[in-house]
């Protein structure tokens, strides 16, 4: 049963949290957090099971944020769940604070230390193998960036997951089309990713990564394809989605908010600051 239905994970509200944190901490990586907002909203709302509301429950599902740069989006969801408090949000990046600019496994609710890319997915494959050996119905959702697919260990893990028939694993690709220095096409083109993943032995679907209903349907369809294969959801997203002046503009991988741009961004979300 979906566990978190009572929490709305409203995307606009999640984006507002990201803006608040980014402004409070004067941080970068806004665009790559915005591209996974709807994906996380659907996963937390309908799929991730945390028995006892406990992020450390041994019976939980595992959300692996392998593209650790998007971690503010996950913090925003953890705020909704009550796993983070207002001080942690508003004192982001202050001296001595716990929440870092990249996913860190020591934070309750985060599973892996990532940001160095191509790590989290392999850890997720190991978790999926362990869960499968133990015979539980727990699932692993691993979010990787399209830029992260440059990393060799991702493909080592993809081969292994397919070889071991890990049908409890979904790789979710945040296909926002950008990596640090340009578009993925310019830097290292991925070709036809869906065909590529299918040829590696995955069941793959592509979806509009900002359409919550479509994401939900696609995940349901993937889990219901009883073919013994690991799954891949290729989510076509927009980097910076939700704030028009940030959308598909790679400068918002690096740019910090000032009072003016913060205010403009919040207004663009349709929220009063």
């Amino acid at each position: 049963m979906p566990f978190n239905l009572d929490v709305t994970f409203q995307p606009t509200r999640l984006r507002q949290t990201v803006l608040e944190m980014a402004y409070a901490g004067s941080t970068v990586h806004i665009g790559c957090a915005f591209s996974i907002i709807e994906l996380l909203a659907v996963l937390y709302r309908r799929y991730l099971r945390y028995p006892g509301h406990d992020p450390d429950s041994p019976a939980r599902d595992y959300l692996i944020l392998s593209k650790g740069h998007g971690v503010m989006a996950q913090y925003a969801c953890m705020r909704e769940l009550g796993w983070l408090n207002e001080t942690q949000i508003h004192q982001y990046f202050s001296d001595g604070s716990e929440l870092k600019g990249l996913s860190d496994s020591r934070v309750r609710g985060l599973e892996v230390t990532s940001g160095s890319l191509g790590h989290g997915f392999s850890v997720g494959v190991g978790i999926a193998m362990g869960l499968q050996r133990s015979g539980t119905d727990q699932k692993v959702y691993a979010i990787v960036g399209d830029g992260e697919l440059n990393e060799g260990p991702i493909w080592e893990g993809v081969m292994f997951a397919a070889h071991q028939k890990m049908d409890n694993l979904i790789m979710i690709v945040d296909m926002n089309g950008f990596q640090a220095m340009g578009t993925t096409e310019e830097v290292l083109s991925l070709g036809d990713l869906q065909s590529k993943l299918e040829s590696f032995g995955f069941t793959a679907r592509s979806v509009d990564g900002h359409d919550e209903e479509a994401i939900d349907t696609a995940i349901q369809q993937l889990w219901s394809s009883d073919d013994g294969k690991p799954k891949a959801l290729i989510a076509k997203t927009v980097k910076g989605k939700g704030v028009p002046f940030m959308e598909a503009d790679n400068r918002w991988h690096y740019t910090r908010l000032n009072a003016e741009t913060f205010s403009e961004a919040v207004s663009a979300l349709g929220i009063q600051s």
Binding site: P58, S105, R106, E111, V112, T113, S116, G118, H119, F121, S122, V123, G124, V125, G126, I127, A128, M129, G130, L131, R133, S134, G152, P153, E156, G157, M159, F160, H163
Partner: protein, 304 residues
Amino acid sequence: MREAFSSALVNFALSDPMVLLLTGDHGYALFDEFRVKCPQQFINAGIAEQNMVGMAAGLARVGYRPFVYGLAAFIPVRTVEQIKIDIAHDDLPVVLLGDGAGFVYSHLGTSHQSTEDIACMRSIPGLQVLSPADRFEMSACMEYALESRSPIYLRMGKSDRGDVHQSPIDALQAGQLLQLRSGRRDRPGLIATGSMVTIAVEAANRLDLNAWSAPLLKPLAQQAIDAAAQVSQGLVTLEEHSILGGLGAAVAEILSEVHPMRLLRLGVQDRFSEHCGTHAYLLKEHGLDQETVLTKIEAFCDVG
């Protein structure tokens, strides 16, 4: 020594179904018994060491006890970052087994030789480093690794040098040195690890020196080094590893703080092997053969 290693692994796996052996497509004959007796606990991860180490972290997170095997050039050196981030950062109980360390693959050249693995692993927080010299130390190190429930790198070098101990040794204590011989207090004492221990013992016998084996390279106890220094006039370290960052460096770090004295570090200088040949040939090329070692220690005695 390799039999001691293999039988320890088989025993662990038979007594605990959560023990898993992962290998990067290495260990063809070494794991024959394991594969027959515990086929479900044997995982060949393919020639994909980075993914294998990441997966080991994932398996440990859900309660398994992974032992990850590879050649030392790959496990740990190729996967230093996975060991740091995925395993050590979370203090996960993963045992990394690096085989063929030093110049074991003497004929194959630089890619398969490993003289920097100790240095790489020593600097990773919380990771312990073991380096057994014979079958008795191997058994004790494997027990230590299983019991410690924290990240371990176990280094296996040239394994056919014979026994340095006469009988099984007691459970290892963190940081300790094992004394092999008592000798003259007015001469240097020898501290060696792994494959160089037999050469150290022979040199100690000929020159009547104190000699210790160091199967636990990290942590290395201040107290143990200080005690060795107290009964020696200078110390000599011997290792089939770079003198930068290995046993010699670890001893130098401690000595300089607690008991400043002269130290001779015998190991690989800052260079790669130049030629191909037998293991004995390469030891000679690097000045680590029995006669060269003896000459260097004698000269060190004379300076003292």
